[in-house]
């Protein structure tokens, strides 16, 4: 839109401020949680907070570089970045390092570790942005929609294979972008209902009740709007999908999520250690 890139008037300063504020809060949180009296200073490289500080500085420098780059450069680079991260995502499945149940890390020399899923997130965003901003691309077209969906789902599936359900779900928020560009609102509504039903099913642990309410609501809508054949049809299809989903929640929870991703009872282990210590 604005090709005349000026550093001072085209930057979302509020965003930069929020980013820096979050970094600062995180740094101090780590400092207070991991405090080691032998290394009291926040800049000490031996400690976790010292490392975090270095990472913050490095990322600010990198951020400045990226801001200074010509935007067309990023746009041109998007397919390359996307391809690179896809290769990394496949690589991590082969030589990956298993941490906390996720095979998501590639070990680098010097004790550092690389998590390709993180790069995949913005590589996907870049490519999607480039594709959607192309001429004659409308999400309402079946073809365009399929290509956009493929750009999103390909890395998503690879990440799910790592066992990293969290990073996988992050991609689903790209639905907002597609919606903004003309995707049918049904997708957004359906996703919202999926999330709500998933939480409710686990929380209430009563499938019959939830399905009963769903059926009740569907019948109500059909009764009230029975003239509107199209709406009745939509509600029927939607309700069927939702009921099928409710039945699959338990399976999803048990087989897709790893144990540590479920409600983790950290305190039980902690209490046990405490009671052992008590006698000293």
């Amino acid at each position: 839109m604005n090709n005349q890139r000026g550093f001072f008037f085209n930057v979302d300063w509020l965003m930069v401020f929020i980013y820096l504020a979050l970094c600062t809060v995180g740094l101090f949180s780590i400092h207070s949680a991991m405090y080691d009296p032998r290394h009291p200073y926040i800049l000490d490289i031996d400690t976790d907070y010292g490392k975090q500080f270095i990472f913050v500085i490095v990322s600010i420098v990198l951020g400045v570089f990226i801001l200074l780059l010509e935007s067309r450069f990023l746009s041109a680079l998007a397919p390359v970045l996307y391809a690179l991260t896809i290769i990394l995502l496949i690589l991590v499945l082969v030589i990956g390092h298993r941490v906390k149940g996720n095979q998501a890390w590639i070990a680098l020399p010097g004790g550092l570790r690389l998590q390709p899923a993180e790069f995949a997130k913005f590589a996907t965003c870049l490519l999607l942005a480039r594709y959607l901003s192309g001429m004659n691309i409308k999400v309402t077209d079946i073809k365009s929609f399929a290509i956009a969906a493929a750009i999103i789902f390909f890395p998503m599936m690879l990440i799910l294979l790592q066992g990293d359900a969290g990073s996988t779900l992050v991609f689903s928020c790209l639905i907002f972008v597609l919606y903004r560009e003309g995707l049918s609102p049904y997708f957004l509504i359906l996703e919202g209902l999926f999330i709500t039903l998933f939480v409710l099913t686990l929380k209430l642990n009563n499938v019959v009740l939830i399905i009963g309410v769903l059926v009740g609501l569907a019948l109500l809508i059909i009764l009230v709007f029975r003239r509107n054949k199209k709406l009745v049809f939509t509600v029927l299809v939607g309700a069927s999908i939702l009921i099928a989903f409710v039945f699959s929640v338990k399976f999803l929870y048990n087989s897709v999520l790893e144990p540590h991703q479920k409600s983790a009872h950290r305190y039980s282990a902690w209490n046990k250690k405490r009671s052992e210590r008590k006698r000293i």
Partner: protein, 661 residues
């Protein structure tokens, strides 16, 4: 700008909704829900428990039976440890290098900057040599800790022992006990756990994220002080207790002495015994394992858990009931030819000795089986030979009033009730109406289907000494400075025999010691009334039994002695009882030392091949719970009786008494 421009507001709305939900949740966690506040407090404040000293237990004259001793627990903080002379350190605290490495690794695993236990319960001697060199071993620290100690190594089964609580106890205590606490497991320690344990105190310490103490919380405003356990004065007399243990060494059996006027237990000997100090300290586990494996079961509390047939010591009781029923008078006589015919069963007197014409007193004095068989048949056939059931039930009721066949209610755990068959039991073995007085004639002389604990035997003597009543036996005189007795302990239990009926029986019992079967155990200057018993059992020699009380006027001690498989009551049980009685009444033993030593040094341990029965293995597996198992289960005859499915029960009922004294 495309036609979907307005959709940005929908997206904005979605995000605002999500943020509002998160804010509501945050509000709930921070302001309304205090769960995380509690977690945080637990993180910072660590309650340190101050352990109270367990109360000591004294004998009736204030001598210490058990008190607390300081031992020293070594702890280590791995972070502070500097290289040190490991060999020297091992030598000082008496462990080997492998053990040191193991403990040290364990401590490191626990946390480098946390103080972890390293070696427990060092003796004061070891500590003394370590103390002066402790500065050479930075990172190690020593904490005093009190354990039980028994200065006279006596009354092990009476006092019982304490053990670290296990998970089951912790659960069932509803949060009172914590891992590492000790609890009375047997004996007085268990019975009076609530007063002995004292009250724990709590000091609230602030700790940092690594568990390092940073000082007292709120200047100790929420701390409580530990209250030491109360001092328990038991009724035991340490002098006769020790004498009893000495005399019973290398013998299996039991001695119980009771003060008739109060019901207080004076001696409580279970033999073989063990040194209670073995159950304390670093070697406890090994020592306990050895004791469990001992075929003579030193952990069995024989005075209240072993079943013995009373044998002839039952005769005074038999006579009392007959007198009360009016079946006989003191002048009823019987001409003893050396045996008695009950139906077609011949009951012989001891050594087939013909006692000639005997009356009640002389029959007791000479232990004439014939006389008492005659009396028993008279009672049982009072309403006709075929109508025995109600008569028997009536007779049994009279007997159990003396405390037989039910728990006396001693303030000690795991007392066993003893046994006397009911008419229904006999109906089951034979068929209703299928048994006669001759069938159960063994009961006349304390054989057959009657089993009593030594405590019950001693309690019968209390009742005779008191002319018709007893107090529930108990073993604690006072708690702290309070003279306490349970309500039960001051209630006279009347046995329903008129006082005047006791005199002829007591005459006979005096004659037993003066010139009868136990004449060899007469104590100069003391009138003791007693009764010997030679109780048959199915494995080896008969049990030697003697029951007595003394002096005759204003009795001060009632006693029951059982020496398993030792032979005649007069030979072993009677002298042992007489020494205890003399010591208790006069403070010394005046009779010849040689004879005393002969009794003391005699080894009467039963032959193991007969003593250890087939289910020994099973009994051993039960380990600690074994104390609840009866010795009788191992001692054979009772076992089959307590188990109704056992086919030998029938055989038992017709058990044929051999010669009795």
């Amino acid at each position: 700008m495309n036609k979907f421009f307005e959709r940005r507001y929908v997206i904005g709305g979605v995000f605002i909704t999500i943020i509002l939900i998160l804010l509501a949740r945050l509000f709930y966690i921070q302001i309304i829900d205090d769960k995380y506040l509690l977690y945080a407090n637990k993180n910072v404040i660590r309650p340190l428990i101050q352990f109270p000293d367990r109360g000591p237990i004294l004998d009736r004259n204030g001598k210490i039976l058990v008190q607390n001793n300081l031992v020293y627990d070594i702890s280590v903080t791995p972070k502070d440890v500097k290289p040190f002379d490991t060999l020297e350190f091992c030598k000082l605290i008496g462990i080997d290098k492998a053990e040191l490495d193991k403990q040290f690794q364990k401590a490191i695993k626990y946390g480098r900057s946390v103080q972890s236990p390293f070696e427990k319960q060092l003796s004061p001697q070891l500590y003394a040599s370590l103390q002066e060199r402790l500065s050479e071993f930075p990172g190690f620290s020593v904490l005093p800790h009190s354990v039980r100690t028994y200065p006279d190594s006596t009354a092990a089964q009476f006092l019982g022992y304490i053990l670290e609580v296990d998970d089951k106890i912790i659960k069932s205590s509803g949060g009172y006990y914590h891992p590492g606490d000790y609890i009375g497991f047997t004996g007085v320690e268990k019975a009076y756990e609530n007063v002995l344990r004292g009250q724990r105190g709590v000091t609230n310490m602030m700790v940092d994220s690594r568990g390092i103490q940073k000082g007292s919380y709120a200047n100790g405003a929420y701390d409580t002080v530990a209250v030491p356990g109360e001092r328990l004065t038991s009724s035991l007399d340490i002098n006769i207790q020790k004498l009893g243990e000495k005399l019973m060494q290398n013998k299996v059996g039991s001695v119980v002495a009771i003060e008739p006027s109060t019901g207080e237990i004076l001696a409580f000997v279970s033999s073989p015994t063990y040194d209670p100090n073995l159950m304390v300290g670093r070697e406890r586990g090994n020592n306990a394992a050895k004791l469990y494996d001992d075929p003579y079961s030193p952990f069995l509390v024989r005075p209240i858990q072993a079943y013995y047939r009373p044998g002839s010591s039952f005769k005074p009781l038999s006579a009392l009931i007959a007198l009360q029923e009016g079946i006989i008078t003191p002048y009823t006589t019987y001409n003893c030819p050396g045996y008695y015919w009950a139906g077609n069963r011949k009951i012989s007197c001891y050594n087939h000795e013909a006692h000639g014409t005997v009356n009640l007193s002389s029959a007791v004095a000479l232990s004439c089986n014939g006389y008492f068989s005659m009396v028993f048949e008279k009672i049982m056939n009072a309403s006709g030979r075929k109508n025995i059931e109600p008569v028997y039930t009536n007779w049994r009721d009279s007997v159990i009033k003396f405390g037989l066949s039910s728990r006396l209610g001693l303030d000690m755990p795991n007392e066993r009730p003893g046994r006397l068959y009911t008419a229904a039991n006999y109906d089951k073995i034979y068929h209703p109406g299928g048994w006669r007085s001759s069938t159960i004639i063994s009961l006349a002389i304390g054989q057959g289907e009657v089993d009593a604990t030594p405590l019950q035997l001693a309690n019968i003597e209390c009742t005779i000494a008191n002319h018709g009543f007893y107090y529930t036996p108990h073993l604690i005189k006072s708690i702290g400075t309070r003279n306490i007795t349970r309500v039960d302990d001051t209630v006279k239990h009347n046995v329903g025999i008129s006082a005047q009926n006791f005199e002829p029986v007591i005459d006979g019992m005096q004659a037993v010691v003066d010139r009868g079967t136990a004449a060899a155990s007469k104590i100069p200057g003391i009138v003791m009334c007693g009764k010997t018993g030679t109780a048959d059992n199915s494995h080896g020699k008969p049990n030697s039994v003697f029951v007595a009380f003394a002096p005759r006027d204003h009795p001060r001690i009632a006693i029951a002695v059982v020496v398993e498989n030792a032979g005649q009551g007069a030979n072993w049980a009677a002298p042992i009882a007489s020494y205890l009685v003399e010591k208790y009444l006069t403070g010394t033993i005046s009779r010849p030392q040689d004879e005393f030593n002969r009794i003391m040094n005699a080894n009467l341990l039963p032959d193991l091949s007969q003593y250890v029965i087939k289910n020994k293995k099973k009994a051993q597996q039960d380990s600690l719970k074994k104390s609840r198992l009866d010795s009788a289960r191992k001692v054979g005859p009772v076992k089959s009786a307590s188990n109704k499915k056992d086919p030998s029960a029938k055989y038992l009922a017709v058990y044929k008494p051999k010669e009795n004294e």
